[in-house]
Symmetry: C2
Subunit: 436 residues, 2 copies
């Protein structure tokens, strides 16, 4: 059977790696006081069909027997930020603000599958949303949480992360200072710098948007600026463009970068080429690459969105990042760089002497489980050699025979009581193995 391109699925040993990674992410987010939520997979098309690049990639959903010609009203969410904003507005009366949440769910985009891009993918999002206002220090807190979460994955062999930051007010203020009326159009072209190179982007700015050669060149000069701290600001000012919005962006990004240089040295750089395709960002924006796996694209992206969520009474400004779990894990698990120490949770296979005595084996397994030791009973009363092979093929380290337990790796067999015996702690559960 041919696999469906763009819809990755793991074998059990790969899924175990994913479970371990998700447990670490969840643990990090909860240590920082973020509460879990899940939102439904389907949203009204009206809230999904946005003006950014995403609109055309939405999967439309309808009931098979919906009336002929009825408009498509629902779609699968393409990220977790838009549904979260909807959830916040819908439940505002029951939430405490600033509201800190994480959300680990699949999202769907009907784009062409390629390395690092899937039609179904798992994301782990972490955000803070305020009511009416949200202090800038959260723009510092959130990337620190995301970087800490990614750092915890290094024990599993995930390469170290480097985050690149920019600020929409800075870019937009700069473009407006150049006389541009549609700064998002400029951003979307600058966003393709990595893909097409500076000459093609400059040409697009001139030809698609009618910018002067000098203005297009200034946009590229801005995009070339990189710094490990707040020192980018002077370089921007030297480009000779001014304005209130630009100064506001320079100030915000300066504060964020000075703090990140102190708290996460070497893990964050200001990079004024960072654009982010989505149109709902209004301030700080984040992108993150893994060292040596830069070609995958950003594994943790996000930003500040001041006007995504609003009801009649309030706006709900937010800031957050999304960790691309599938983007990180599918390649690493696929090439065998990450796997599990066994294919099943079972630590012990309880052998069966004959079908007539299966109940005795079930009782032994129940005793082991009651003490937290994962155990399964042999499905057949085959010769013991065959039952040992059953365990061996799955990586189950111990086989229980009547009143004895055998470590099938060493061959050592000892008398044991299922109410007392314990496996070595490193054998109790399957663990993640790296080829590193």
């Amino acid at each position: 059977m041919k696999k469906m391109s763009g819809f990755p699925e793991f074998l059990p040993e790969g899924r175990m790696v994913e479970q371990a990674v998700l447990a670490e992410l969840q643990r990090t987010f909860e240590l920082h006081g973020f509460a879990s939520i899940e939102t439904r997979a389907l949203e009204p098309m009206a809230s999904l069909a946005r003006k950014g690049d995403i609109g055309k990639e939405v999967y439309v959903v309808r009931r098979l027997h919906a009336p002929e010609g009825a408009p498509a009203e629902l779609g699968l969410h393409f990220d977790l930020t838009v549904p979260f904003a909807r959830y916040v507005v819908e439940n505002a009366g029951h939430l405490e603000f600033p509201f800190r949440r994480y959300q680990i769910q699949k999202a769907w985009r009907g784009e062409r599958p390629q390395d690092g891009r899937y039609r179904e993918f798992l994301q782990a999002d972490v955000d803070i949303v305020g009511q009416g206002e949200l202090a800038l220090h959260h723009d510092i807190e959130l990337p620190l949480v995301a970087l800490e979460a990614l750092a915890r994955l290094e024990e599993f062999g995930v390469p170290p992360a480097v985050m690149r930051l920019n600020n929409r007010k800075l870019s937009e203020g700069f473009y407006r200072g150049l006389g541009v009326s549609d700064p998002l159009a400029v951003l979307q072209r600058v966003d393709k710098l990595d893909k097409f190179g500076p000459d093609a982007v400059a040409a697009a700015l001139r030809e698609d948007l009618g910018m002067s050669p000098a203005a297009a060149a200034a946009c590229l000069s801005l995009a070339e600026i990189k710094a490990p701290d707040g020192s980018f600001a002077d370089r921007v000012r030297k480009l000779g463009v001014g304005g209130e919005l630009l100064e506001s962006g320079l100030d915000e990004l300066g504060q964020v970068m000075e703090s990140l240089a102190a708290y996460a040295p070497g893990q964050a750089v200001a990079d004024l080429s960072v654009a982010r395709g989505l149109d709902y960002y209004t301030g700080t924006v984040y992108e993150t690459a893994l060292r040596g796996m830069e070609a995958l694209g950003s594994v943790s992206s996000g930003g500040r969105y001041d006007s995504l969520a609003a009801d009649g009474k309030h706006t709900y400004p937010g800031v957050g990042l999304s960790i691309g779990v599938s983007r990180i894990l599918v390649p690493l698990i696929g090439k065998g760089a990450l796997t599990a120490s066994r294919k099943v949770p079972s630590c012990v296979l309880v052998a069966v002497d004959s079908e007539a005595s299966r109940a005795e084996s079930m009782a032994i397994a129940a005793k082991l489980r009651a003490r937290g030791i994962p155990a399964e009973v042999s499905p057949s009363a085959d010769k013991y050699g065959k039952q040992i092979r059953y365990a061996d093929r799955r990586g189950i380290p111990f086989v229980w025979f009547g009143a004895e337990v055998k470590d099938i790796r060493s061959g050592e067999q000892i008398a044991a009581d299922p109410d007392i015996w314990d496996p070595p702690s490193q054998d109790l559960r399957a663990i993640v193995r790296t080829d590193a």
Copy 2:
């Protein structure tokens, strides 16, 4: 904003209950040696559009910009069994059989929302699949695992479960013995007994299917038989219908019930009215009610499916059950019977004296987290009374001030070192609270 009917979403305190329940289910399944897998949400329509009752409820999915008039090729899965069968066939060369897996994911059905029925719902499935053959003792093992998992939820205030069992060979053999040529059609009408009552079902059997009054009455007599063990068989035989398939069903259900009467006394009854709407079951079938919440319908259903999965070389017979997590939790959480001890994971709020000293508060929080204590830093340097109210509204039990920590419930404030201090263990994490 109006909520979308049929798509339940929890507030953070409800989601915490769901997380605790899922952790217990996962723990139970893994103790029994079941490995986790996840399958993609989308399947080809060809494998979803079945002859059972489900076909018309499938949600069809297509790209927004798919070519006009292109056939709808994908749909959202309506259960986890059909995708699992596809996964088994697709990955058979990499799996060890019998293959034990659990799968906790959402599923979607476009049916009319009502109590216990949702358009998006979370299921926890546990199955064993063999290659070519699968021993009957797995038909005993699986309901024991599901009943153990449900029993673990009683500590959270979920009522005790009672499972009802039947066997498709028994029903089908009986109907064929009566001369019926389409036993599934009879099953689907008998399945409505609870809903419409015996007179309406008898009328439907006579009028829709042309059965004689005596044959229709015999079907109802069969459906009336209930027993806590294998004693149902004699009562079936007294109805005077015979045949090889019926005898095979009587034998299988007899063995399963005798074992369940021994291992799970009082938790399982043979109930020959159990039908299950899905057409892929071929042997044992299971339904489960919660005592006092019978109106919700079955919270754990499943059965034996001998021919759902097959490739050119093998068939992959399976047996399993699905626990309806949403069906159990949405009503209990919705009416406030289950909630969490606080609204956030944070055990400690670290107060902020002034924005200039925020870094000191961040350092204290980092020290607490490094020792596994969930901590967040106050979002504002407001007066301490306001920061305490911030903690109180979220149920955070401790507020940290400089070198002291205050239990805001008792008011007790003590000198404390963030490298040493520990909260009482019952305060470390949010726990599930019941109103019982």
